[in-house]
């Protein structure tokens, strides 16, 4: 990481995104001055208070939205549209409610570019593989509304992985899980990402979370964002060894890093709580969450 190589996997330069409310015409600066270079095989976590623009950044990288100013490049080429090389796991899963677990996992393979050139059998095999991987055997025929929150997240994860994207963009993917399942899936996620493989064989991952310890546990670096306007406040390298297991949480360095990040967002986190309870301060009145 010390030598800036010629080409990053992802490169964000002075990215800003403004939204204009259709009725009132009011301008919101969702994010501004975002500069970020992400290398191949890197696992980058983004933390920050609600409304700081984490999802906005992810959508811009996905190509679902275009930046108001600045540039975003993947493999040296500007991002102009969504593409299956950048897979997204959405905050509320975005599963097709009319499709079974099996068909949801196979959605990209059956109807999108990831399935191009694959026979029916090959696609089926791939779907079954990822059903197994997220341990949804026996639930293939169920519909999303028949699943628990945790199962839906696993379907979304399997769909993401089945499409074989180069870059994984995950928006609070483990947020709805109970803490035990969450710990298990964190380890599993690292395995799927390729923690034990050499760096160049790993996928590139961007992982949004509101859980600082989760960010430290998973990430090579943690991007800390702040709000009003949304910007990158700090980028903390996580110098913990890999592969990581649950025991790494007992490592003193783990606690140090978590504290360091917490110190960076504590003020804003408290302000956000005050804002929701009593909109008294001059800043608090401007805190309008739209999610």
């Amino acid at each position: 990481m010390n030598q800036e190589t010629a080409m990053s996997k992802l490169r964000l330069r002075n990215v800003a995104k403004h939204f204009i409310a259709p009725r009132t015409g009011q301008l919101t600066t969702a994010v501004t001055d975002v500069n970020l270079d992400i290398e191949t095989g890197e696992f980058v976590c983004i933390v920050g208070p609600s409304g700081c623009g984490k999802s906005t950044v992810l959508n811009l990288i996905a190509g679902l939205d275009t930046p108001t100013s600045g540039t975003i490049e993947a493999n040296g080429a500007p991002i102009v549209a969504p593409g299956a090389d950048r897979g997204v796991m959405f905050q509320d899963y975005a599963l097709m409610p009319w499709m079974s677990v099996h068909d949801n996992i196979g959605f990209g393979l059956n109807y999108g570019t990831p399935g191009e050139g694959l026979t029916r059998e090959q696609r089926e095999k791939r779907i079954r593989h990822f059903v197994d991987l997220v341990r949804l055997n026996g639930s293939e025929k169920k519909y999303p509304h028949q699943l628990s929150g945790g199962m839906r997240q696993r379907v979304a994860l399997a769909r993401l992985l089945a499409n074989g994207p180069d870059i994984l963009l995950m928006d609070e993917p483990l947020g709805a899980l109970d803490s035990q399942t969450r710990l298990i899936l964190q380890v599993e996620l690292l395995r799927i990402w390729g923690e034990t493989a050499p760096r160049e064989q790993r996928k590139t991952a961007i992982f949004i979370t509101h859980d600082i310890e989760e960010a430290v546990f998973l990430g090579d670096r943690v991007v800390v964002m702040s709000t009003h306007p949304g910007r990158v406040k700090a980028i903390i390298p996580v110098d913990l060894p890999r592969p990581r297991s649950e025991h790494i949480r007992a490592d003193p360095r783990f606690g140090q890093l978590s504290d360091e990040i917490w110190d960076l967002i504590r003020d804003e986190a408290y302000r956000a709580i005050d804002g929701t309870e009593a909109p008294a301060g001059p800043k608090a009145t401007a805190v309008e969450k739209v999610e």
């Binding site: 190509g63 549209a81 109807y111």
Partner: protein, 302 residues
């Protein structure tokens, strides 16, 4: 609605949820149970379960309705105006025996089916077009809004003049009536497709055709089905009016025919048939809805 376990004699396990606490008939039959127990196979439990099913409640309310009708008919005392349910039943049996009833019912339901198919073929593609293209919507919406408040029945005299008496007039009226709820619900369904799902498909490299076929259409389908049931309800109400005046056959025609002959029990008989056929069709549509859009349970007509 939860049942008060301590103060009432309540059947175990909440078997009579639908009947509720305000149903003395079913709760009197139950032993005093302190706490809800597991369902047992004992006889009183089984009887209570049957007595408090929805079907049984429907039977009881229907019996009460017939009794009221009977009393009212006796009080009116003029079978030409209001025959007793027994006379109507006799008329229904004789109409059924010589097949007349089924002939007219079949004619009307055939017209209904044809009209609904035509209305779907016209309204649903147009609804998708208007829902997907703001420009098309801007051009077409004013016309739709202008025609929509005009009742289908308003077109009957004109239709009589253009199409004459026959099959075309009732079909025309029904297509007109069914068209608007289908169109407006299709447009609404297409417009309210969850943008997240479209975005998810885009990130998987789904093209325009697959997007329409595998995202927009299924996402809009529950709302289209709601429109279809509304279309049916409107069309079934309108067909009777159209057949009263503009047709030589069908349930509406039969009502008018027997009215002129002052054979009131048969008039009532046909009215009953209209109700029953309409009810059965709605049941069939609900089944279709459950089969086509099983994920959208609970999305109901207002």
């Amino acid at each position: 609605m939860t049942m008060n376990v301590t103060n009432h004699r309540v059947p175990e396990q909440g078997v009579s949820r639908a009947a509720g606490v305000d149903d003395p008939a079913s709760s009197q039959r139950s032993e005093p149970d302190a706490a809800p127990a597991l369902p047992t196979a004992t006889k009183p439990g089984a009887i209570r379960r049957i007595v408090s099913t929805r079907a049984f409640i429907a039977v009881r309310s229907f019996a009460a309705f017939l009794a009221l009708w009977y009393l009212l008919a006796a009080w009116v005392g003029n079978p030409i105006q209001l025959p007793s349910p027994l006379r109507v039943a006799a008329a229904l049996i004789s109409l059924g025996a010589d097949g007349e009833l089924f002939d007219h019912a079949l004619i009307s339901t055939t017209r209904l089916a044809i009209s609904l198919v035509v209305a779907v073929l016209l309204a649903v593609p147009l609804g998708f077009f208007m829902g997907l293209s703001p420009k098309a919507n801007a051009y077409l919406d004013p016309v739709v809004e202008l025609l929509r408040p005009i009742s289908g029945i308003a077109w009957i005299p004109l239709g009589l003049f253009i199409f004459g008496v026959g099959d075309v007039l009732p079909v025309f009226i029904m297509v007109y009536v069914a068209f608007f709820p289908l169109l407006l619900n299709t447009i609404a369904g297409v417009r309210h497709v969850d943008g997240k799902l479209v975005n998810a498909a885009r990130t998987m490299g789904v093209g325009r055709r697959a997007m329409l076929r595998h995202v927009i259409v299924p996402a809009a389908l529950p709302t289209v089905m709601v429109g279809f049931r509304l279309a049916f309800a409107g069309a079934w109400a309108a067909i009777i009016a159209a057949e009263l005046i503009g047709s030589p056959s069908g349930l509406g025609f039969a009502i008018e025919w027997y009215r002129q002959l002052l054979m009131t029990p048969k008039v009532y008989g046909f009215i009953v048939v209209i109700g029953i056929v309409g009810y059965l069709c709605d049941l069939a549509l609900r089944a279709l809805q459950r089969w086509l859009t099983p994920w959208a349970e609970g999305m109901e007509l207002a």
